[in-house]
Each structure stands twice: as structure tokens, then as C-alpha cells.
Symmetry: C2
Subunit: 414 residues, 2 copies
């Protein structure tokens, strides 16, 4: 275990080197249930699409050479052999001087190589007058022209939306292999917190973190297990964590990581098994007490009790791990440039994150970033009011008013 | 019913005026299951948060005036009355010359109005030496300072993510009222399409649209009901649609809307009830045959069979309706400016949408929009390869090469 306060960069390195996170495995699911899941293997087509030469218009399948020279003034005549039905293998073939009626999407019959559009023809019984010539393959979508047998269509790691699921359906797949979703147990500690939905005793406040972190797990591609509030009592906490280690792939706790006499989380995590605590404390603001344990291959992230700190440290340190376990690629953060409305101070020697709201300054005709106060006042609403955050490096004292800053945006999937 | 081909703008107006879409109703669900749901009523706090004056540090609760003048050189002494326990109503009060031990988050006891930090004190038994003065309310988060009783915290229509769900938990809510999700039945028509997962008979192709549209329904906040492929046969189609009208709030079909002899969808939809067909055909490219029916209050959108056309017309015309039914606000589309790599032609008199891929032109140091061919060739992979689309107005013939265009981006939630 690291005895010193790690820098933010050291903490990220320690996570990578100790946890070595990777996807948890593969499961087969129905393609209809695959929305937002992550493809676990490359999707390879085992058929040509279309699987046959296909007409792209309503008209008559012909030999192109039979139409050469035909125009409005010099139409030519072909004999209609019959019709090609859509959705069926053609039961006829087209010889010289012959044509077969065909609709959009139907297979081109043997002998034909092109299709004359119906509006360029006139039919009487089995006699077809053709007013326009076609070239070879005209109005034909050739076998395999969209997707070739053996072609890789989507790569492993791709998240699945309507467009990707449509393409997989085209390959004839009704089941696909996706990465398993990591299950993540979430609990809050603290004698002062009560679960929402229960009466609020005097001196207590409602728990926020188990709810916000369960949702953050979903946003990261994991499956949360809500374990509620655990009293600040070593034996109960230990038993709850042992239980969570059986059913979950990772654990998130909040509260009880500072240095007060009741801050029993780090020591309890360390007692659960090997290797135990990895680090306790990172030079961050907010979020300094954030603690990481590893029991076997299962990480236990312990966040501070302050709701903004908990969600921010989750975002910085735990979310990338859960995303990897879920098979997702690193998240791209949307960035917006804006001008600081106030001086924003950093905490000496700590990577500082200032939550800000973005507004348009109509007078100055520019976007501005206005700090949303959090800090000691506990402000629960800080995050809900903010649009994103500004990051200040360890060696910078402050960002000055009117200085341009890059705001990392919270998104719907933050 | 409109007999003429509507313009895109007329079609949108016809939808608004005939469907008058609105949210379908409200249901109460667990806050833990509320991720991505839409809040149906304003969330009003019925308590002050914090519900008591709360210490923001570990230290001693005191009367501020007792500490005035104290510093390193002139410390003063107070008598420790006892401790305030976290999560409990204080069992003691603080008089003049007195102090009470307190931890972060614990309630300020009666008589005290501020907290001296532990690092500014020295304690020996019940004698406390104070090396620093505090002002009234210093290190105290006052009752209601974060959220006031009666305050509106979130507005109806808000989609719920980790931050919003955290704020609702703070109010003590374990259940909340959200808009019901519209159920949307999805079916494909066509004798040439086969459901994925089944063997592919000669002359047929796999159905794409029921899968991509089911997923698009989820992306729009609805709950899809997959009804598979219905043969191009009037009676079967009619029975399937009647069944769908019982269980679903809206219906999506694809295929069978062109003018071929087998295009039986519009006439069948019209026969289902009143008012029947609203329009059949919109001056769009792709997507011209798109058809809208309304049976009672339930819309039936019928898209062309071409996968790109189906998904695009869904996005343009049906998605806004499903979002309103789900209680969601209008979607904001992300826009990117880029330069056309090729001349992009519009279809005369039709609003044209050209799917494009965005690339960085390293030589020219700018983003370029490269058309992804679709059109008659059916290209299933068109959408999966594209990043977004460029819209060309009805009265514009083409966009020239090197002209700057605005690309409307597909997003994960497209």
C-alpha cells in the first residue's frame, strides 16, 4: 500500500497497475435486447448481401444487348416470358428477344443482366414495346455489392444503437455475443444518513450517494446492486462488504474515509483479504480521502461522503475501470471553451476541479463559466446546477477572471 | 386525407395538427429504477436541507463571542460540557464559557453558534485551550441553506441521470412520479424479407427494419413491441395491425408503401378506423412514400422498406412524436461544420438528406463531409458508416464541392 498522498496521475497509474482491469467475459443475448450493450467479437458476415442479383426498379428483366439502339423513335419489341415473383427463386429464364416482368427487390432471372424501367415500356399481352436502351447491370444491385461474405461489419467494442443493430439483423443474426455487464455493489456508511423513503430522525440527513452512484454505475455500463446504508460499525460493515464480494464484481462505498474517529472504512477494507488497501488519499480537491482496496481481483472504491466529491471521484477514478470491465472504449468528454466570471482558486498541490455553470454573456457576446459553489457548505444541489467542471493543475494557483478555460461537460451519460 | 405530396414542413404541421401528441400519463416508480426516465411533476422539497444547523468541521461548538480576541499569543480557556454525537439530536446545550466536542456533520447544540476547528485547540480533560477566534456561524452550515422547504428542485420534463437522482434522494424520495413510456408496435412487411435467426430461403433477404426501428423506439424513450415480419397479404396485415392497436400506443411499419401492386399498407391502414390515412407521400429524399395514419388517437407511421430511408424518416417524423408521448423535450441535434468533398445533388422539389462521413483533411487542415452512397443500391451499411447528414432545401439544386455545410450528427441516441 502507498503510505503517502498520491498525485492524481500516480493514483491513475496505481489503478492501472494493480487492478489491470479487463472485460469480464462474454454472454449471448437476443439482438432485440442488445441496445446499449457492447459487441464482444467482430461481426463477420457469413453471407453475401444481397444474396442474389436484385432489381432496384419495377420493370422488365432483359438481356441489355437486346435493347441497344432502342429509343422513343425506334422502339423495339420483346416477348414477355412471364413474371418473376418477389421473395422466390425465379422459375423462368430469359433468352434472346425475351423479357420477364419484375418488381423492385426481386431476383434477376437467369439469362437477364439488366432491367428496363416500366415507364420506358408499353405492354400488350405478351408483347413488350421497349422505348429505351439499358446497359449491362443497369438497375441491378449485384450479389454481395453491399456486404461480402467474410467481411467484418462491426468491430468488437462497438456500443450498439439502432444503426448497428440494423446491420447485425441484415446478417441474419437474432442472437449476438456481448460483453457481460459488471455488477457493482453500492453502499453508504455513516450514522448520520438515513435511507430515502424512511422517516427522518432528528440529527440525520437522507442518503444521496448510494442512489447517485447506483445510477452512475448504469451510466458506465454496469449493473448496480443497491445495498443501502450501513451503520458506522466495524463488524456490520465487514459483514456487508464480505457479502458484496460474493455477488459483485466491484464495490463502491461512500463516507467514513476521512480521519475522524468513526472513519472505519479503510481499515475494514484492508482486513478483507489480499492485497488489501492500494491507496488511501489522493491530492485532489474535492475528493482527497478517496481510497482504493483490492480483494482478490475485485476493486473496492471508497469515496468521501460529500455528494459532489463522491460523484466527482467516481467519475475520475472508478468510471474508467467499470467501462473497461464492461468492454467499453475510453469515454470522450465534450469540451467547451468559456471565460471565467470569477477568479477560481486551486488547493495548494492538489489537482482541483471547479464545478461551473455555462452561460452566454449577451453583452460580451461570449460563453462564460460561472463557478457553482460547493466546498464546505455541503451543497447537495451543486452538481445538479452545474454544466461541467474546470480542471486546475497542481502547480497553478488560480485561474483569473476573464481567463479562457476549457470546461469538461457533464453529459447525459456522465 | 391529403391527396397531394406534402412538403416536409407541411407534413410536420399535419402531424402536429392531427396527432396533437402529448404525454400518455404518469406512473410511480422506485427512484432506483428511474435512470433515463422523465420526471412528470416538479420535485418540491418538503424539508429544509440540511434539516438542522450542521458542523462542517471536526472541533468544538462554542458561542462565537466567547472566542473574540483569542490567538496564538493570547489563548483563552473554555470548559468542555461533553460531546455531540453524529446522527442524534444533541443532549446538551452550550452556555457562556462552555464548549461541546463535535464532528463534521453533527448538529450544533443549543446555545452554540459556531465551531472552532480541532487544530486550533488543545484539550486536557475538560479544559479546552482555544488559540483562534471564530465569527458567528463560522464552520456551520445553516438549516435550509442548501435547499429550502417548499423549493422546486427539478422541473417536470427533466430526464433523470446520476446527478438528478442524487438530488431526489436528498429530498427523501424513494419513489417518484415519471411519465409512462409509450409502447410502440413495430412490424415489417414484404414477401421478400425473412426474420433474422431463421434460415434464408432463396430469393429472400433478412429483415432489418423491425430491429433497427425497435431500437430507435428505445432511443426515443419508448418501449418497443417486436411483431416481426408480416407477409404482403391484406387480411393478415389487417389482423396484425388490429392486434397491435389493442396493445400499443403507436405503430411503426416498414415496406409496402410505394406504388407497386403489392404495396397494400396505406389502403389497409385506412380501413382500420377513423380518421384513417392522414397523408401518403412527402417530398423527401430519401423517404418519399412515408405514410401516416391515425386510428382513434393512435398514430401508424409507415416507412419505406429501404433501411436508410426507414430510419431517416423515423428520425424526421416519428421520433419527435414518440419523444412528446414520453414526456421528453425536443431533441437537440449536435451540429458540425465541414466542407463538402463532392458535389451533392438534391432531388428536384424534395427536401434532400445526404448521409455523410466526417473526416479530417490533414492537408487542408479542416473537417470534410464525404457523402456515403446510398440510393438505389440499397446499401444496408450506409447508416452504420455515416456520421450524420446534410440537409438540402427544396429550392437548392446542389451543394458544390468545397462548399461549407452543416452536418447534423447522428449521436448515440439518434
Amino acid at each position: 500500500m502507498f503510505r503517502k498522498l498520491l498525485t492524481y496521475d500516480e493514483a491513475k497509474k496505481a489503478i492501472e497497475q494493480n487492478l489491470k482491469p479487463k472485460p469480464l467475459g462474454i454472454e449471448e443475448i437476443s439482438l432485440l435486447e442488445a441496445y446499449n450493450r457492447v459487441l464482444a467479437v467482430d461481426a463477420v458476415s457469413n453471407l453475401d448481401i444481397p444474396p442474389f442479383h436484385r432489381s432496384t426498379v419495377d420493370g422488365y428483366a432483359v438481356k441489355a444487348e437486346d435493347t441497344y439502339g432502342a429509343d422513343e423513335n425506334q422502339p423495339l419489341k420483346l416477348r414477355v416470358r412471364g413474371s418473376v415473383h418477389i421473395g422466390e427463386s425465379p422459375k423462368l429464364s430469359v433468352g434472346s428477344g425475351e423479357a420477364a416482368e419484375i418488381v423492385t427487390g426481386a431476383p434477376i432471372p437467369e439469362g437477364a443482366d439488366s432491367v428496363v424501367m416500366v415507364e420506358d415500356t408499353h405492354r400488350q399481352d405478351n408483347e413488350l414495346v421497349v422505348y429505351s436502351s439499358v446497359t449491362k447491370s443497369e438497375n441491378v444491385q449485384k450479389l454481395g455489392s453491399d456486404i461480402k461474405n467474410g467481411e467484418i461489419i462491426l468491430n468488437a467494442g462497438q456500443s450498439l444503437g439502432s444503426r448497428e443493430i440494423g446491420v447485425l439483423a441484415a446478417l441474419g443474426k437474432s442472437k449476438i455475443e456481448v460483453f457481460k455487464m459488471p455488477t457493482v455493489a453500492v453502499l453508504s456508511t455513516g450514522s448520520e444518513v438515513t435511507e430515502p423513503g424512511k422517516p427522518l430522525p432528528e440529527g440525520k440527513i437522507y442518503d444521496i450517494n448510494a442512489y447517485s452512484l447506483c445510477t452512475a454505475v448504469r451510466e458506465s455500463g454496469g449493473k448496480p446492486i443497491y445495498m443501502g446504508v450501513v451503520p458506522d460499525e466495524k463488524e456490520t460493515l465487514r459483514k456487508t462488504l464480505e457479502e458484496a464480494l460474493i455477488s459483485a464484481d466491484a464495490i463502491l462505498t461512500s463516507g467514513g474515509v476521512s480521519v475522524g474517529p468513526k472513519d472505519i472504512v479503510p481499515v475494514t477494507v484492508d482486513s478483507l483479504g489480499k492485497p488489501g488497501l492500494i491507496f488511501s488519499g489522493v491530492a485532489l480537491k474535492p475528493g482527497k480521502p478517496v481510497t482504493l482496496g483490492l480483494i482478490g481481483k475485485k476493486p473496492i472504491f471508497s469515496f468521501p461522503g460529500h455528494p459532489t466529491s463522491a460523484l466527482l471521484t467516481f467519475h475520475l477514478l472508478a468510471k474508467p475501470v467499470i467501462r473497461i470491465m464492461a468492454g467499453k472504449p475510453p469515454q470522450e468528454t465534450a469540451l467547451v471553451k468559456a471565460y471565467a466570471t470569477k477568479r477560481m482558486f486551486s488547493a495548494k498541490g492538489r489537482r482541483t476541479f471547479v464545478t461551473v455553470r455555462i452561460k452566454h454573456d449577451d453583452a460580451a457576446k461570449r460563453l462564460v463559466a460561472e463557478p457553482v459553489e460547493s466546498g464546505a457548505s455541503g451543497a447537495i444541489t451543486t452538481l445538479a446546477k452545474a454544466d461541467g467542471f474546470v480542471e486546475i493543475p497542481e502547480n497553478q494557483q488560480f485561474i483569473d477572471v476573464d481567463e479562457q478555460v476549457v470546461v469538461q461537460l457533464f453529459s447525459e451519460t456522465w
